[in-house]
């Protein structure tokens, strides 16, 4: 087949695109005209998504490390070794000496199998993935407030919004096909845009009000908005009365957050706070959009809960073009959470503490004794590996050396873990530390589904064969299970895995490959005749009444001092994807952004006598990197921004391993650094 409709591998927008092939490799990628997200358009990453998987330096054979060198080996020998080691650790040190890192880049089916492998076969709940690092706070926060940790509304509702509040999301860069909708709504239909972000992002140019808070002060300004809304009687009393609980507590908490105090904490002028509160509250259709600027904090859950409070206090939720809309970053980070690649829940966010649920899965999987205690999270797993508590670590499609906070710590841990398995399409920085490397298939080389940020379960389709001996992740995981003597993981096709997911997961209950068609279905989709759901919490919240959970402002974990006098915040650029393993093999993307850089405010640059493009050293208490400077107005005085993509100057060498107490998400968005000329 020369042309196949599939789903983009990059961001959570989930654009529908066609991959073209000459039978051996990919030769193009075109947008679908009729797909509800792409509608004839793609961003630059989608347009160029055909290139990386052709790279001749793909992993094509299993590798076993012998005397510090990788030697190609057969699947039989390699998987034999993996199973022997894992069996040994399990029997000698117990199941919790093993851990599994799944991947939001892989399919729903593969994430489901990874967690099934961990739980049903190895009997451990030590399974987690990079959602921990991006939207763990959302999953926890929105579940507490509404009963469901996902985008409440849908992508095509932006066009009818009257007010859009964007915070902590560089939307045009990270979710381009959503960012573009916001621009169109504002420019062509007169909607009002509020942007609240420590960086003056592209969307700020279209904002009716742009506010630049100090990094890590989100709870303060959100409480400040609610203060004004209540003080000016702009809250939706009927909605609060009928659909929520805990309003009095909210009122009590926010009463301290006067615009004056908020200005002091956040540096947002008090007039702006009042203006934003009025603009957001008075419109009927106001949407909140947020992303990692909100979640990646030690107060990540507090931030999310506060945004939920803001939406509920104004009744801006439960109907089209409103709601609280976390934009999920990875192509399938929504799905990998949905299908339970998390340490405390099975698929569909079903708690493993609940005995009935455990029994259901035991029956479904024909096993006994599923472990009842929640497992470790990503950062805990890495540390435990370093301390020797985790002996065998299985990483599928993740690159924690570049993506996790405090890289030097991660490196040390991974070099100390007894047995490391890495399954990937390229020999990543993380794979260098592996004892065994397993070559897997790219998104163009297998069937499956991704779930985009608006909960749309969409097909990906096989276009070409994987290179050499590489295999789809689901096939490799099944083979490991089979070798462990488990009979419940033999599948001929991923559609059978989806059938199993549907049978065990109420929100995916009605999903089958036959029903997905070209554009997929949005969950909740509980039954085979259910059309899917575009707006959540319509008549009532998933959990019944929405709960106000007011939080006080708590400062970030690390504050600046005389020595480390700059705040560093990290993020991404439009042209690259995460640890750059795919985009640096894409000529157009790599050419646009070939080098790491640090953004600095003009005034600071002048004070320090630093020119544009000059190399400087940035260091934190954890490490130092050297990179070029970009002088401008994007960040405020006293703040630096570094994209985390580049191994050549990995921003995560500087970041701090301080996590949110509940969600365990690291504080990538704030740490203290200093700048030195070299």
């Amino acid at each position: 087949m020369p042309r196949v409709l599939t789903t983009c591998i990059y961001c959570g927008c989930g654009c529908g695109l066609y991959l073209i092939s000459d039978g051996k490799r990919l030769t193009g990628a075109y947008p679908s005209r009729n797909h509800p997200v792409s509608r004839g358009a793609l961003c630059v990453k989608g347009w160029n998504s055909y290139e990386f998987s052709n790279d001749l330096n793909r992993l094509t054979a299993p590798l076993i490390k012998k005397d510090g060198k990788f030697i190609p080996a057969s699947w039989d020998e390699t998987l034999g070794l993996v199973v022997e080691k894992f069996k040994h650790y399990k029997n000698t040190f117990g199941p919790d000496s093993l851990a599994f890192l799944s991947s939001a880049k892989t399919t729903n089916e593969e994430n489901f199998l990874m967690m099934k492998l961990a739980r049903a076969v190895f009997k451990t709940n030590n399974i987690d993935h990079c959602a921990r690092l991006c939207h763990a706070s959302t999953v926890v926060g929105l579940s507490l407030a509404f009963g469901g940790g996902a985008m409440t509304n849908s992508i095509n509702e932006f066009k009818d919004a009257e007010v859009i509040l964007v915070t902590g999301s560089d939307t045009t860069a990270q979710h381009p096909l959503i960012g573009s909708r916001i621009i169109n709504t504002v420019k062509d239909k007169g909607a009002k845009l509020i942007v609240i972000d420590p960086r003056e992002i592209q969307l700020a140019k279209y904002a009716t009000i742009y506010a630049q808070p100090k990094c890590g002060t989100d709870v303060a300004w959100i409480n400040g908005l609610i203060y004004v809304i209540i003080a000016e009687d702009l809250h939706d009393k009927k909605f609060i009365e009928e659909r929520t609980e805990g309003f009095l507590e909210l009122k009590r908490t926010v009463r301290d957050y006067t615009p004056e105090l908020v200005e002091e904490i956040t540096t947002i002028p008090k007039e702006k706070i009042i203006e934003i509160a009025r603009l957001y509250a008075k419109a009927r259709k106001s949407m909140i959009v947020y992303s990692m600027g909100i979640t990646q904090h030690t107060t990540g859950v507090d931030n999310v809960l506060s945004l939920a409070n803001l939406a509920m206090v104004t009744g801006h939720i439960g109907f089209a073009s409103t709601g609280v809309n976390p934009l999920r970053g990875q192509n399938n980070v929504q799905g990998s959470c949905d299908v339970g690649a998390l340490p405390d829940v099975y698929s569909g966010y079903q708690s493993l503490v609940d005995g009935d649920i455990r029994k259901k899965f035991e029956q479904g999987w024909r096993v006994e004794g599923l472990p009842p205690k929640a497992g470790l999270t990503v950062t805990e797993i890495i540390s435990a590996a370093g301390e020797g508590r985790i002996k065998g670590l299985y990483i599928m499609g993740e690159n924690p050396i570049i993506s996790d906070p405090d890289s030097n710590h991660v490196r040390k841990c991974l070099s100390e873990v007894e047995f490391l398995v890495v399954q990937d399409i390229f020999l990543s920085d993380t794979a260098e530390y592996a004892d065994v490397v397993l070559p897997s298939a790219s998104f163009a080389e297998k069937d499956g589904t991704f779930t985009n940020t608006e909960r749309r379960v969409e097909r990906i389709r096989k276009v070409i064969d994987p290179p050499g001996q590489a295999k789809a992740d689901w096939q490799i995981l099944s083979e490991v299970a089979r070798r462990m003597g488990y009979k419940g993981m033999d599948y001929k096709h991923p559609s059978e895995i989806m059938d199993e997911i549907a049978s065990l997961t109420p929100i995916y209950g009605g999903i089958t490959y036959d029903r997905l068609g070209p554009y997929g279905l949005q969950w909740p989709c509980p039954t085979k005749d259910h059309p899917g759901t575009s707006v959540l919490h319509k008549e009532k919240f998933t959990k019944g009444k929405g709960t106000f959970m007011p939080r006080p402002y708590i400062p970030p974990a690390e504050s600046t001092d005389e020595e480390y006098n700059f705040v560093l915040t990290t993020g991404r650029v439009y042209w690259h994807w995460h640890t750059r393993t795919m985009t640096n093999r894409t000529s157009t993307l790599e050419r646009e952004a070939p080098e790491p850089y640090v953004e600095i405010n003009c005034e600071d640059a002048e004070d320090l006598q630093i020119r544009d493009d000059q190399l400087i050293k940035v260091s934190s208490r954890r490490g130092a990197i050297t990179l070029k400077v970009r002088v401008g107005h994007k960040v405020a005085k006293g703040t630096l921004f570094i994209p985390f993509h580049y191994r050549e100057a990995a921003a995560n060498i500087l970041t701090i391993l301080a996590v949110d107490p509940i969600a365990k998400i690291p504080e990538y968005k704030v740490c203290a650094v200093k700048v030195e000329k070299i």
């Binding site: 020369p2 066609y18 193009g28 990628a29 009729n34 001749l56 045009t172 573009s180 909708r181």
Partner: protein, 362 residues
Amino acid sequence: MRGKGGKDMKASKVKIIGKKKIKDLLREASQEWNVYVPQKWSDGDVWMDQLPKDKQMLDEALEDVVLEDVDTVISPKDIFFPQLESIFKFKDDKIWETPEFSPKLIFGVQPCDLKGILFSDDFYRRNFEDRYYVSRIQNRLIVARGCLRPPRPTCFCSSAKTGPFAEDGFDLQLVDFGDSYFVEVGTREGEEFITMHKKFFSEPDGNYDMTIKEIKTKACDSLELKVDFQNALSLMAQDSFIPEENYRRIGERCIYCGGCLYVCPTCTCFNVFDNVKDKEGERVRNWDACVFEGYTRETSGHNPRKDKWLRTARRYEHKLKFDYKVTGLSGCIACGRCLSSCPVGIGISKFIQEITEKRKIM
């Protein structure tokens, strides 16, 4: 307008073919040609794809052939200029080229796209000959199909006189007439094709000339989007007429996806890179776009078009000013694709409206 290189333009003749016979014609033609024809996918997307050679697959594909209201995201330019193609391969000290020169019948080409193809043909042979492109087009027959209605709401060909019917440049052109098509013959090759497959064609009756004229006029009137194209070309020809502010505003809105250039029938830029492992590899080229910063960045790091708006300006100037100066033809053939594939609603038709009507619409 220049004829297609090497082909004789002959006085127009007209034949007629029943619509029902098109499938059989294509089946027969595919024995000799690689046939490219618009096919509809189950999701409604339409692509100009090659018909399979396998008999059963061919029968299935023929069921999906569509010739009316065809809106392909990409023009047929990718048949001659694929998004990614091999230039040569190498291993150890051996190098070999992999040129493509199969016989191609492109069936159902829209008139605007035909203009785009001719424009690119000319471009790739103007100063130096691009052998990879030229080898792909050397054995090619184009059957155009006029549009009774604009397939895209963004079409504005009637304003640029590039459609909805072609005046020349085709080998054959189909004119939709109820159950059948009139077939206008444009070249000797077209005529030979008809002779080869004569059982499918017959002579039209009566005053068909008038009928065809009426059909074309009606088609022209069906285009709702009208812009003052000629005026735009002459305004652009006056240096520094367009206020910088226009370009800045558009450049600011742009999210730099490159889509408008990828879909443009007359965009011909490519980048070249090597895919190498050890001593084996391939030199490939793939679509490039002038909106990218790296497109004009010099080795020193200096970039004459560093600011986004300068790159925006370059695009419009290239299409509407420099191409016109160099070739006497506009580089935009008014297909409307750039607008219909732009995530933020930027399109050259809107730009033309802005400068000729002196208002802001983007």
